[in-house]
Amino acid sequence: MRFLGADRMSSLPVAFLAGAVLVSVMALLQPVAQTVAAEPRELILASYSVPKEAYEKQIIPAFQRFWKQRTGQEVRIRSSYGASGAQARAIVGGFEADIAALSLEGDIEQIAKAGLVAHNWRSGPQRGIVTASLVAFGVRKGNPKNIQTWEDLARPGVEVLYPNPKTSGGAMWDIIAIYGAGLKLAEQRSAATKGSPDAYATDLLKRVQKNVKVMDKSGRESVTTFERGVGDVIVTYENELLPRIKSGRPYELVIPAETVLIENPVALVDRNVDKHRVRDLAEAFVTFLQGEEAQRAFREVGFRPVQPAAPGAQAAMLSPVPARLFTIGDLGGWTKVEGLLFGPQGAWTKAVEDLARGK
């Protein structure tokens, strides 16, 4: 009670003043917060965080114009951005998104498994994919440690950054890239030194993991850590690096000769679409995403255009195309790769455990 002595009564006006300030700040923000709601036709988009800029600045306004022109209807798109896995969990848990644009097929699969995506979202010419990218390296300006290949990442004294695959879909892609590159490298070598490609890939993964300095929660955070001066090389999406380098950040992009093609899916959440009666709108939006205008917007923020399933379409990709580009399909598909690398006996899990035991 000592603190509440009579002399403290003078602080009462201050408390009132603080309260008044708080109330007026809330009053000021209230109309801003409310403008999002209350529109006749509304679409809820749940996306992972990376393409936020493309959606907000270009694609959504363009779609609104397109829809108005076609039907005369105003459309409001409420968009939410967050980690891909968190978005998937939120949708399963009751977040009524009409469209899920996520970074991993596995996350869409989780929504499908919960019975919210009834149709075959992989149908259509683009197989449910809206954006593509590569796993690439970001290195310090001038590439002082001369990092060009995956083997360079395993050199002693090189500090590597990528996020934790448990929390980051991006990190799963990164580790898939290391492992897959290991297989490709082993194929090249096998002429001279015959050995199991799997063993070589596992060993490469372990040696790279040994040099990892920080494992952030997400790819974005990992880039922030890199920009804070930690690490010699960051393994991440090419589209994370490109726009930042363009805006003058002091690092460079290196695309290794062997790397994985990243494909990011989009799907209608059927149950919510039907509940909100917006199927026509949602389907038009997904088609729009694969159209020329949206693809240009994605390209501007660093993505590569989606690859039509047709052969020979690689030429349409932005250069440079790595010499030995592979896809998740080449490694046996998501389900197989998840178990192979991230399961309890997976190569990455084992690498981490072995390193901790000093093996």
Binding site: R2, A83, G85, A86, R89, Q110, N164, P165, K166, T167, V212, K213, V214, M215, D216, K217, R228, G229, V230, F342, P344, T349, V352, E353, L355, A356
Partner: protein, 295 residues
Amino acid sequence: MNARQLVSLALRSTAIGYVLVLILLPLLVIGQQSLVGGLGRFSEDIVQPQAAAALVLTLEAALAATAINAVFGTLSAVVLVRYEFPGRWFLNALVDLPFAIPTLVAGLMIAALYGATSPLGAWLQRGGIEVLYNVPGIVLAMVFVTMPFMIRSLQPVLMELERDQEEAAFTLGAGRWVTFWKVTIPSVLPGLLTGLFLTFVRALGEFGAIVIVAGNIPMKTQVAPVYVYGEIESYNPRGATSVSVLILLISFAALVLLERLTRPPGERLPAVISRWRRSRPEPVAVPPVLPALRG
């Protein structure tokens, strides 16, 4: 039943209901969830190499943080209560800041201060001391977010402590340190214990600050809450729940122990404290007549 009894009943049931609904209910749910697969599954989740390593690291770091706060928190509390100096009010106001700022922001501040690009971080690195992305960073983050517990639990008891007891000890020939150890510390023991235990359990659960400053490398610099988050994110809610429940059990055991040790001041002194009191050597003990002399 008269009106007064009714009011009292209403008050009691509100209090009990409040605690039950807000704390016990969620606890029961998570406890039940962790046991869906049976005890075997639970222990299996705990002994997963990455889970076990994260738990051990968390306990070690929390103990280290508690030890650091025990020493420096106690000193700070004594200084803040006992010494008049310019800017004391300001320092006193600063103490609560770690409670007020989001721990994520605390992590960012530590990262900025000790990072390789800051002068301090660079200097430490030249000296071969890696704070950030290493265990010291984890301990530092824990110390930061728990600092108010120690100081704020000690301050009131230090203020209550009659200075004349210490003065009596002086008069009876005890030195500064003897007085501190034999008179001051035992008198403030309940506050001290509260601070220590709260620091420890709070440090066990810290996530926001640590996730920024630790490297979060499994089995190396990944603490249990960060592990739990990873398991949630990778669709393993059961593994996450099991580890969470273990942290909960440890925290709860610590809090029950604290409750036993610091039972309300009064007649029945908890065993530990009365033992402390009894073990004080005679010459230093405060003669019971002294308070009467104050008159």
